[in-house]
Symmetry: C2
Subunit: 202 residues, 2 copies
């Protein structure tokens, strides 16, 4: 098993997930800045052109970070990170999607359109980036309210939803295009998840 | 169990999913055009303000269409729509995410920013809508290539990935802001999924 990856929030989701599971594998760096992910060789692995991609020993490729995590969860069920009964499964998926759709994708939209990081390969609309940068911090209020009454996003248990939101916040801070307000419950939770060894995994 | 819904692609995902499972429940209409989803009463059900929301008999609310579908799959495992072994689970999630992130979200971005459908509650950037409208049809080539060699997106089995792509294509055709090219394998597949009774469910 090999993980084709580059420094990116989606690659980090898989790194943290694997560290939580105590799994490791060979890593193959992909230079997305130089467009290595858009070469015919790479597109044969993942026609979507994104990182990361997990290559299995039989030559099968699994793209999309959450799909890779679900594969690993099915092979290594413990510690459970996607839920184990119907309501827990749904609750984790709900908060993972909220973290991804209401915050992480707004941060990505702000980053790509404001900085023009991929302007050699996509049309950037700065005004749209600014709309995203304004929406992203507001979305954090929903998570702060949830974390006022729960230790983790899905309740008492650390889950994949926490990985998504934690990494998205770290990414927002790193690229500096989105203000991350200092909300009390979110900050308490962020300190807790950041202290997990998995959040320092590479 | 009650489904709070309005005419929208995400509500339709749950309707089709339930029809595939042979499940039904009470429906509660939500008038999103009038902003009913932004009232304090609705936000107490779903702080994200989106539809659909599934209300359980004990008063628990599950938001996010895919989270609702995962809840229903866990309660009613057959017919299986999210996969049953590690590779199948990953393959369905990969294609479901590609359908959602590479096509459905571009169609939504084009629709909202070009038509200004929600301009009373969000900032629209027409230029961004046009970027989305240009990207969405190109993304369909990846699905067409996949469907040249597979009956369904995840292989031999109809899955949740097919529901997402089928509904996103129907939505694109309905709102007319994105051109849906006539690609041979995609058209063959779309005719097949559209003929399923679930695709006519309401």
């Amino acid at each position: 098993m090999k993980l084709h990856e580059s420094p990116s929030p989606n690659a980090r989701r898989v790194q943290v997930f694997m560290a939580e599971k105590g799994i490791d594998c060979e890593r193959v760096p992909v230079d997305i800045r130089a467009g290595e992910n858009l070469t015919p060789e790479y597109l044969a692995k993942n026609p979507g052109g994104r990182v990361p991609v997990l290559e299995l020993d039989d030559g099968t490729f699994i793209a999309e970070s959450v799909a890779i995590c679900r594969y690993l969860e099915a092979l290594h069920p413990e510690p459970n990170l996607f839920g184990s009964d119907p309501l827990e499964i749904a609750t984790i998926e709900m908060w993972q999607r909220r973290a991804e759709l209401n915050f992480m994708s707004e941060v990505a939209g702000a980053f790509r359109n404001i900085t023009g990081f991929f302007k050699d390969r996509e049309t950037c609309v700065k005004e749209w980036g600014e709309v995203c940068a304004e929406k992203a911090p507001k979305a954090l209020n929903m998570f702060d309210a949830r974390l006022a009454e729960n230790q983790y996003l899905a309740g008492d248990k650390f889950s994949n939803a926490d990985i998504t939101l934690g990494i998205a916040i770290d990414f927002a801070r790193m690229v500096k295009v989105v203000e991350v307000p200092d909300l009390p419950n979110l900050s308490r939770w962020h300190a807790e998840v950041s202290a997990r060894p998995s959040f320092s995994a590479e």
